[in-house]
Amino acid sequence: MLRRKRKERDTNPNLIPVMDVTFLFIFFLLMSAQFIEVSQIVSDAPKIKTTNSTSDDKPLNLTLIIEKDLLIIQKGLDGILVKSLGRTKDFFELGELRSVLREIKKSSPEERTIIVRPGAEIPYDDVIHILDSVRDENAEGAKLFDLVVFET
């Protein structure tokens, strides 16, 4: 009989120290919890650079103009129009923007910079939304144009 009683005692572990540690852990996590996860989009201020004119390599100078109802993609120093995309019912056709940029990226794989020129009244939220498409990753995880320069 005595042996049996001992067995019963063993089945009830003392949980109080475990609870103490767990509560301490909870307070620590509560203090360091961040419920809004933030990230950053890096952009450099535009700089003027004089290049050697004897070089045959023409800069891509890819420019994205954001207007109220139009997205204009230009390239080259003369601003040759590549494509202009209209606004649909909800937003711009970002899928088409991505496919145009992918085609440009195929022809100039080393190029990472895109110049963005938003209109003064374009909401900041829309600009960030468009930048997401510009910086979109392909299947290999490489970004389209990750260096964004705002033309001010």
Binding site: V42, E121, P123, I128, F150
Partner: protein, 147 residues
């Protein structure tokens, strides 16, 4: 006598299983939102950041905030209002110059947090002023999109 003792012992035993279940759920929830990064975001109440899919976390650089009332804050301290011209903001410029350290310690990066509904000219004004004050690398802080 024996009966009394037994009854007393039973009343003292509290089942901790249900409490432990709740505590464990809370623990897993908090671990999910645990942030080990040093960058802390303290946005003014009512201010919303745009959502973006960028993955890199913000650094501990000087932070310029434009809240929903177009009030400019540096490191959480209100400075002045946005002029809305997309040009240099003199008040912000002077404040940035005041906070400039010696040339060797100068950090060129600035975190920019702007309320999502503001027009681009507000962002342009901040960028233009920061660039003039020597802060030439802009880090736009966005709320990470949950996939």
């Amino acid at each position: 006598m024996i009966k009394r003792k037994r009854i007393k012992k039973h009343s003292l035993e509290i089942s901790m299983n249900s409490l432990l279940d709740i505590v464990m759920i809370l623990l897993f929830f908090l671990i999910k939102y645990y942030s080990s990064t040093v960058f802390e975001v303290q946005t003014p109440q009512g201010m919303f950041l745009p959502k973006g899919s960028a993955k890199s976390a913000g650094g501990n650089d000087l932070t310029v905030i434009v809240d929903q009332n177009e009030q400019i804050l540096i490191q959480g301290t209100p400075i002045c209002k946005v002029e809305g011209l997309g040009e240099k903001n003199n008040c912000l410029y002077n404040e940035l110059l005041k906070r400039r350290g010696p040339a060797s310690e100068n950090n060129l990066a600035v975190n920019i947090m702007v309320h999502k509904t503001h027009p681009y000219k507000v962002v342009k004004e901040i960028m233009h002023t920061c660039a003039m004050a020597g802060k030439e690398q802009f880090k736009f802080i966005v709320e990470t999109k949950m996939n």
